[in-house]
């Protein structure tokens, strides 16, 4: 085996340009695959981070009835804030929120919206709730950029907001958009209107009540309190994982094509070199190689492309990866499909596992692709190989 490596290396380097072309193509696949996977990992990380900072903190307590996918549950998803939570709320480590279904009427059109009450003085989440303290003669409200775009509301716009209080009575009031914030978290932006929690409790006739709480305490397995049950960060971010998974499936097709191209080049090289080097093969056999050893030699030689490619990829890939993880990469796509106001800038994350698994996959594929044509050697007649007569 050691000889095979030595010989394969000499042969490969000796083959010159053709080897390097293959190696360049393969190293390119290497770098692109690792880079793209790194971006997905970075995106996943980033999206979860953004969600933590903007919406959920380290986790949430949900009212038992609350189901974000079922609008009808909202009306009943509230309960008095448990006393157990109050010290945390006072310390600013927990943010109570109260939700209700509502409708806004921008320029007379009717548009459903989720109204969310949040304390103006909270600092746990990045939502600029301090703006809700603005003094206006109507209710101050803030919305996200995507919502602003879809409802044609601007800073300073006034619009009628209608809701049903807890008794089932319709009520309406005018709100003023005092701020528009820009976030990559769609669930706090798309069709959401944020107002002060106290105003909300007052208007819904639900003093001291809340639908859910986001908290800062990272402690795990917090027990349910009253009507409120724990929702861990992991559960809350599961959708991000699902989205990333979908994306990564889409990317796999791309990896497959990239690898396929590189593998075709190597396959072609193998076929050609086995055909052109019959005399050499015959010579190896005459000098005492078994045909199986020659098969190994050619397989190792082909697979060595991957080793060289990994080395080359490291030469230009590592600086590129480091640079990318510093400046980040803004995905050139319409992010509004995800309800994102701005295309998030991904800072790719490359783990050892990611690099090792990619290398292993490329090495394995290359070995198989190299072995496939080389198997023919085992069936070659050495005397015919020596004469170079095999077609």
């Amino acid at each position: 085996m050691k000889i095979a490596f030595k010989l394969a290396f000499r042969n490969l380097i000796g083959a010159g340009l053709r080897t390097w072309l293959n190696v360049i193509v393969l190293s390119f696949s290497f770098v692109v695959i690792i880079w793209m996977k790194g971006i997905l990992v970075g995106w996943d990380h980033q999206a979860k981070n953004d969600m933590e900072q903007w919406e959920i903190g380290k986790g949430q307590f949900w009212h038992n009835q609350y189901d974000p996918y079922d609008g009808f549950t909202i009306t009943d998803s509230h309960a008095p804030i448990p006393n157990e939570f109050k010290p945390e709320i006072e310390k600013g480590e927990m943010v109570p929120m109260l939700f209700a279904q509502g409708t806004i009427y921008p320029q007379g059109r009717m548009q459903p919206a989720m109204i969310k009450g949040i304390p103006a003085n909270q600092t746990l989440l990045k939502i600029p709730t301090h703006k809700l303290d603005s003094v206006t003669d109507v209710i101050p409200a803030i919305i996200g950029e995507v919502m602003a775009r879809s409802s044609h509301l601007e800073k300073g716009s006034r619009v009628v907001l209608r809701w049903r209080d807890s008794k089932g009575t319709f009520d309406a009031a005018e709100i003023e958009i005092v701020d528009i914030f820009s976030t990559t978290v769609p669930t706090i932006d798309v069709a959401q209107v944020w107002i002060n929690l106290e105003t909300m409790q007052e208007k819904l006739l639900l003093p001291e009540q809340a639908t859910l709480f986001s908290f800062a305490n990272a402690e795990e397995n917090r027990p349910a309190v009253g009507d409120f049950r724990l929702k861990t960060k992991k559960e809350l971010t599961a959708e991000i994982d699902a989205m990333i998974k979908t994306k990564s499936k889409g990317q796999s097709v791309f990896y497959f094509i990239l690898l396929l191209l590189a593998m075709l080049a190597i396959f072609d090289t193998q076929i050609l070199s086995i055909f052109r080097r019959q005399k050499e093969i015959g010579t190896y056999v005459a000098l005492g190689y078994t045909r199986q050893q020659v098969v190994t030699l050619f397989t190792v030689e082909g697979a060595m492309h991957a080793v060289l490619a990994a080395a080359l990829a490291a030469v230009y890939g590592i600086p590129f990866f480091i640079w990318q993880s510093k400046v980040g990469f803004t995905i050139p796509m319409d992010t509004s499909e995800f309800g994102m106001a701005i295309a998030p800038t991904m800072y790719p994350i490359y783990s050892v596992g990611l690099i090792l698994s990619t290398t292993l996959i490329v090495l394995l594929t290359t070995s198989v692709v190299s072995y496939w044509p080389a198997r023919r050697i085992a069936k070659m007649n050495p005397t015919e190989a020596l004469r170079g007569k095999i077609q």
Partner: protein, 232 residues
């Protein structure tokens, strides 16, 4: 001079499939070779020289009969066993040299040793010795494309001789060489034959080669026509 037989060929028949039928290239060869012979298979093109040499070299199998080489019956060897025989005891020299083009002279000569259990230091010494025999110690770092035909064939001889095999098989070794180079190479082989007691068997129809042979075996249509021994 020749004592124990290192090759015994008995009623050797070789047929090749051809179209629907078969072609009989060797029609019943009986030959013995002793240690230290400097012998040649001589005959016109198509007489079966290469075919016979390949069977002796365990690169091909007899169809019928047997060739026992260094005590090994060729027709009964597995491919592993025949590879072992070649790597330990046989050297090949080809008409077209068959050097590995991307390897240096040193690496080419070292090649057969890589398959045997020698240390790097031992290999180095053996390669340098072999290059000394053929007078190419100044070309160790060259690669075959930079060498003349005569030099290439000398590298090939060094490669065949480096492990001091019992038997060297040379198929038309001078066919691509001019007269001066041919004589040079033959003289080299003759010296090695004397010094190392290596048995040489040639396949040739080159008069220059024939002039050096101690034993001339004339083949005709797959049969031994007659033999000549040259006494010294």
């Amino acid at each position: 001079m020749e004592n124990s037989a290192i090759i015994q060929i008995n009623q050797l028949i070789k047929r090749f499939p051809m179209g629907k039928g078969e072609f009989t290239a060797l029609k019943g060869i009986n030959l013995d070779f002793g240690t230290g012979e400097f012998a040649g298979l001589i005959g016109p093109s198509g007489s079966g020289k290469t075919t016979l040499l390949n069977i002796i070299g365990s690169l091909d199998m007899p169809t019928e009969g047997e060739a026992v080489v260094l005590g090994k019956p060729i027709s009964k060897l597995s491919s592993k066993e025949s590879a072992k025989l070649r790597k330990e005891s046989l050297g090949f020299i080809f008409q077209s040299y068959n050097l590995l083009q991307v390897h240096t002279v040193f690496e080419n000569v070292e090649f057969p040793l890589l398959l045997l259990d020698y240390t790097t230091a031992e290999r180095k010494k053996m390669v340098m010795d072999a290059l000394e025999w053929v007078g190419l110690t100044d070309k160790v770092k060259s690669k075959p494309p930079q060498l003349s035909g005569g030099e290439c064939q000398r590298v090939a001889i060094a490669r065949a001789m480096v492990k001091k095999p019992s038997l060297v098989l040379a198929d038309e070794p001078t066919a691509n060489l001019d007269a001066a180079n041919s004589h040079n190479i033959l003289q080299t082989m003759l010296n090695l034959n004397r010094e190392l007691k290596t048995t040489f068997i040639f396949a040739t129809h080159d008069e220059k080669v024939i002039g050096y042979l101690k034993r001339k075996i004339f083949l005709k249509d797959g049969l031994v026509d007659h033999e000549e021994w040259i006494n010294q």
